[in-house]
Subunit: 560 residues, 2 copies
């Protein structure tokens, strides 16, 4: 992985560069965040030509390491106005690794108002106008592109939401079945891609080979042990059996499941939209669990869902989507929830942001909680580009602003995902402090009672997450610093200690926090909305009662 590609959309030129020495030990999130922090003016408008869109595979991309194909997509976020990396599965991460691409950096914006495809293979890069794809959904776009460029290519694309530059717009990736079911969903990176007028990137790794480790035998051994560890991990069993949605009823039971715009923590319809309901549907319709979102995955938490006619409807129907588009809207009809999720995938929208935005629309009286057809109609408004659709597609904060509401489940402008912080207090500390805004990755904390311990756990978890996001490893594999050091050392011939892995994670966080400070996101934005402190959550009557001083300790300790 010796090359960096810079694509200048001002003049539609691409160039290959040798990897700068400072990039050598960076990958994935660490690299995308480093490029943003050093190259993007922190106060620029996220949709302006000054912003950059980064695609960086992890350090182990293209290798045989299990669960190592995650791709980091980064830019200044139109949603949070801070730094953003959205981490995603799919096939592209490994393909970029096999092509020897350390990072792909998109700069500038075209003079002409038309869309482009960027095609990358071992021969180089071409930038091609694609007016014929304007306005198409992700499913139709990928079908056309795979027909034109070969079924083995990996596709990165945006739907109409990204073209409209909506801040809930995702960047979609094809999964091993060639479906655009995996999304770099959070932070509105699809809008940045839309502002740069890129409809899709086609990544063809052709006849390239698996990347070889420097210490081949040792690397194989480490990978084998890591695989064994993942397979023996309890959650892996649950995930491969029910997907992530398998946890929904448990979250409802403990009262952490956002229900009707975060007005309750338990949803009476949880069984119908949770693991049980999804499993029953798969039994009768032929959908399935145990799929992979990227080659080399041994967790297998993805799934394929069929419709009433037993035909493919959607893939990667996750916990967050079912919770935010189901419970949070008071909708217990699984078919409706699946259709909402599919529409988001096709339009290129973050299901979490849209679930939260529609929840706010419920408080605004624009949607009645429990009205499935009403929710589907609202997503059609986005599809049609109506003003209401654009408002919703800008996310929960803008929806609340337009309708004059002050009860808004966001941190740094980004919707809080499906773990209510009044039950999961430690998770709430992570929502508040994570430089990415309220994310569902890297901050979830169960079973810690003491606030000081939560603060410490949140810091360590966020540091560790930055490390494995940089390696390209999936959080579901729960890689420890020990495993990461062994993988890096045997693959690259390095000599990383466990402390070096932590130092990597910490330096990534430091760069992200620095960018945010310069962009204007200071301590005042490290706060949960007041209603989590003021409104007790049924059924357990919990509130988020962590003081600002405790929150500020997460990144004010001597360790960071």
């Amino acid at each position: 992985m010796e090359r960096v590609i810079r694509i200048n959309m001002d003049n539609l030129q691409a160039k290959m560069e040798d990897t700068p020495i400072e990039f050598a030990r960076l990958g994935g999130r660490g690299l995308s965040s480093h490029i943003i922090q050093t190259e993007v003016p922190p106060t620029c408008h996220p949709l302006s030509k000054a912003n950059k869109l980064i695609f960086a595979p992890g350090l182990l991309a293209g290798s045989i390491a299990p669960n190592s194909g995650r791709l980091s997509v980064g830019a200044k976020s139109p949603l949070t106005e801070g730094i953003k990396e959205a981490n995603v599965g799919g096939t592209v991460g490994h393909k970029l690794g096999r092509l020897g691409i350390k990072a792909l950096i998109v700069e500038g914006e075209p003079v002409e108002d038309r869309l482009y495809i960027i095609k990358l293979d071992k021969d180089g890069i071409v930038i091609i106008p694609c007016p014929e794809l304007a306005g198409l959904g992700n499913y139709e776009t990928t079908v056309k592109l795979l027909q034109a460029h070969g079924k083995k290519a990996g596709i990165i694309c945006i739907g109409p939401a990204g073209e409209m530059r909506l801040a809930a717009a995702s960047v979609a990736m094809t999964d091993p079945d060639g479906r655009p079911s995996r999304h770099a969903a959070r932070g509105g990176l699809g809008a940045v891609m839309g502002a740069k007028k890129i409809k899709a990137l086609v990544i063809d790794d052709g006849a390239t080979q698996v990347r070889q480790a420097k210490e081949k035998t040792s690397f194989q051994e480490v990978c084998r042990a890591f695989t064994k560890d993942i397979l023996e991990h309890k959650a892996t069993g649950l995930f491969s059996k029910y997907g992530t949605v398998g946890g929904l009823s448990y979250l409802s039971k403990i009262g952490a499941l956002p229900t009707r715009n975060f007005s309750a923590g338990s949803f009476e319809g949880n069984a119908r939209i949770g693991g049980k309901g999804v499993a029953e549907l798969n039994d009768t319709r032929g959908g399935s669990f145990g799929h992979i979102c990227m080659p080399g995955c041994v967790v297998r938490c993805s799934n394929v869902m069929h419709d009433k006619d037993k035909k493919f409807l959607t893939a990667g129907f996750e916990y967050e989507s079912s919770a935010m588009l189901g419970a949070n809207l008071g909708i217990d009809d699984l078919d409706t929830v699946m259709h909402l999720e599919k529409m988001c995938d096709n339009l290129g929208l973050d299901t979490m942001e849209m679930g939260a935005a529609l929840g706010v629309a419920g408080d605004a009286g624009v949607l009645t909680f429990g009205d499935g057809p009403g929710a589907l109609k609202l997503l059609q408004e986005v599809s049609r580009g109506t003003v209401l659709g654009r408002v919703l597609g800008q996310g929960a904060a803008i929806t609340a602003r337009v309708f004059g509401l002050n009860r808004v489940p966001v941190v740094k402008g980004q919707a809080i995902p499906a773990h209510d912080p009044r039950k999961e207090i430690g998770t709430g500390i992570g929502y508040a402090t994570n430089p990415q805004g309220a994310d569902h990755t890297g901050v979830i904390i169960f079973h810690v009672e003491n606030i000081a311990e939560m603060v410490e756990t949140s810091r360590q978890k966020q540091i560790n997450t930055c490390a494995y996001d940089s390696m390209g490893l999936c959080q579901m594999a729960e890689p420890t610093p020990e495993v990461m050091a062994k993988l890096a050392n045997s693959f690259y011939g390095w000599n990383w200690s466990v402390e070096d892995v932590a130092a990597l994670g910490q330096s990534v966080l430091e760069e992200e926090l620095a960018f945010n400070r310069n962009a204007g996101l200071g301590p005042a934005t490290d706060r949960l909305p007041d209603f989590f402190k003021d409104e007790a959550l049924s059924p357990h009557k919990g509130t988020f009662d962590v003081g600002d001083e405790e929150i500020s300790k997460v990144f004010n300790s001597p360790k960071i």
Copy 2:
């Protein structure tokens, strides 16, 4: 002025308090900002019950001093998310002074979803439900309230925009003719009043007397000299002859007049919507110049405009309104511009924010520049509370966000008024640094060429503005520190030096900057949008070429 009134909307109770000692030498902006800084949680949601709405007359309110009846309305702003004081004329400032009210502080929010009137007279305060006023415009509201409570009362009210909690919503005040033509327009304070469910305040000073100075003869002398100075000041002659709109053609000539969403600095239709056009209309229709917006005004820059049937249409048709609703929308039909202004007054909307929002709508393709009927229709959308209307009524930044545009003429979320900073560089430095966001008051600088000098001039001007905003003096009277010291000393028997006046202004700014820092508005928000640096302004091809380091000097000098 010994009393402070606290109105608790939680339980609909009002109480009179003695003035705390620390309030004694504060008034107007100084007092409203002090109360916000010390009592409002800086990270609270502006529309939540934790926010407070302050009405504070100036130190000279109720006295015979010329141009001394300005009222400061303050709160955490729903538009900027920072501190806000909007300064306004009308009759209420003096009335509160005569009633001995130092400040009126509205706290909490009612349990029930219905609107209230607050009536204040010498006997005390009553809080009365007023469901019959819901949805009414400011004109109809004031007619009804003056009928019910006597023609001599002063009214503070909100229109439908405030009820909808739109961030461009103003707080209207009646002028000496009982018309709601004066607006505490900026920063969305009408939305805060709407969130507190207050439709109007009725202020009846009945048979109260002018407030007497401690050193009566000396005060009279100072007032006489100040009046003479104002009348001899050149701008006063222009203002009393043409109103503030008299300057429009000059601004167009030098290329500082925002035209078609800040895409040019000169407007070919300037004569029709400027002083000349307005004067011709007044000659033929019987409208007039030389009106006052508050008792005791000797500048007389207000006006009354008639419609085609020679009947009253609107009062207080100002430069900013004609520029932002005329030139900035490419509209040169004066009747249309006057009707747009009247609609804003009646709905309770800031004409500057709406002019900027409609300008952005022009870039979005929602409005065609120059299409007067189209612009009127868009304001009707606000009136009807459609989604598009609410988006526009949330201001320029939200309009741009919803339509995915990155060319947004705002600072700290608030629209830039009608002085393009690419021509008026010094004004731009004030837009960037003013804790209130881009305001048209207290930052306008012509005829300074050197950037270091602009920085110093801007700081001094902002400090001086804070001082006269605290005295309740109008900026059009251009009160100097010498005059202010003399007025304060003879009225209160104090012993202020010129330095004490500057120290007052400085301490007000310091409190506002402190609130903003705690609310999360740091140096990164002290920036003009990039397009003022990147796009040269016709006809003079100027850009705003002031570096961030220079800007940061305004409030980083040892003087503040």
